[in-house]
């Protein structure tokens, strides 16, 4: 895994912020996905073009959690988003 690689949102994916959460729609499959508040922050950083490594750095000050735990949770989410075709590696 290259932590400097950037992630991007493919054109067939659209998201909508609903309060603190984000709902993602894969336009071609018609499937919907929900992100909680933390996931929504990760999504926002991805959409802003923050490199993979920078996502944890950006979130760490806001959450009372060990770095390793946050990194693990972020990587798990990124893995899931990649698996569903909701983001891609640039």
């Amino acid at each position: 895994m290259d932590l400097q690689e950037r992630l991007s949102i493919p054109p067939e994916v659209m998201a909508r912020q609903v309060g603190e959460e984000t709902v993602i729609l894969h336009l071609t499959s018609g499937n919907y996905f929900g992100l909680n508040a933390v996931g929504a922050r990760v999504w926002q950083l991805i959409s802003q073009g923050v490199p993979r490594a920078g996502i944890c750095e950006a979130l760490l000050p806001d959450y009372d959690v060990a770095r390793e735990d946050l990194e693990r949770d972020i990587e798990r989410l990124i893995h899931d988003l990649l698996g569903q075709g909701l983001i891609s590696i640039t």
Binding site: S8, P11, M14, Y32
Partner: protein, 208 residues
């Protein structure tokens, strides 16, 4: 926000002119359709439509275009670059309605174009004043996932001449039944539907 109001999208004189255009072109309105196969189904949608707005189309496009950046921000949507507009003028006469639906997919693209997704729906209301109808509210269901039942209270928009609203095209919505006692076309509830489109990438083209 779920719904953005645009109280003076077109301006008074253009709104009046569009209403006059609708009334002058009554004979050209045809039954509305539903789905990707463009089927007339009066159990789901009962109204008439005119897709040719003549010289008015450019103005509608220009005015809607001015609002796109703020609409994307206010509606909390992933930023996107629009690639076109789909515009129609719909007349809801006595007994007309449109059952709950979403707007998302505009169907296969025209010749030489890929299919397009409707990402933002803009609806601008036109009617004679005083109103010759009752009902016809736009009922918007604010839940995020249209496959679920609405848990939140729906939002009703009462149509008023010249006012417009905008919302994400994947929000479920319906047009409540219209009662138009005179039965006259001129007293119907008219609306311009303008969908802000993004065409899908050409298959096989490099992803961004």
């Amino acid at each position: 926000v779920v719904l953005r109001t645009l109280p003076n999208l077109l301006g008074r004189a253009p709104a009046d002119a569009l209403l006059a255009y609708a009334l002058d072109n009554e004979a050209r309105f045809t039954d509305t359709t539903v789905g990707e196969t463009n089927t007339v189904d009066r159990r789901l949608r009962h109204s008439r439509v005119l897709t040719d707005l003549g010289a008015h189309r450019d103005l509608v496009e220009r005015r809607v275009a001015d609002f796109i950046p703020s609409l994307i921000a206010d509606l909390g949507l992933t930023p996107f670059t629009p690639t076109g507009y789909e515009i129609e003028l719909v007349a809801h006469e006595d007994g007309a309605f449109y059952r709950r639906h979403i707007d998302l997919f505009s169907g296969p693209g025209a010749k030489g174009q890929t299919a397009a997704d409707r990402l933002i729906s803009v609806v601008c209301y036109l009617n004679r004043e005083p109103k010759g109808f009752s009902g016809g509210e736009l009922r918007l269901f604010p839940q995020a996932d249209p496959s679920r039942f609405a848990l939140e209270k729906p939002i009703d928009v009462v149509p008023e001449h010249g006012t417009a609203v905008a919302f994400s095209s994947w929000l479920p919505h319906e047009v409540r039944p219209v009662s138009c006692p005179s039965g006259k076309f001129r007293d119907a509830r008219f609306a311009i539907n303008c969908w802000i489109l993004r065409h899908r990438p050409v298959p096989g083209a490099a992803k961004r």
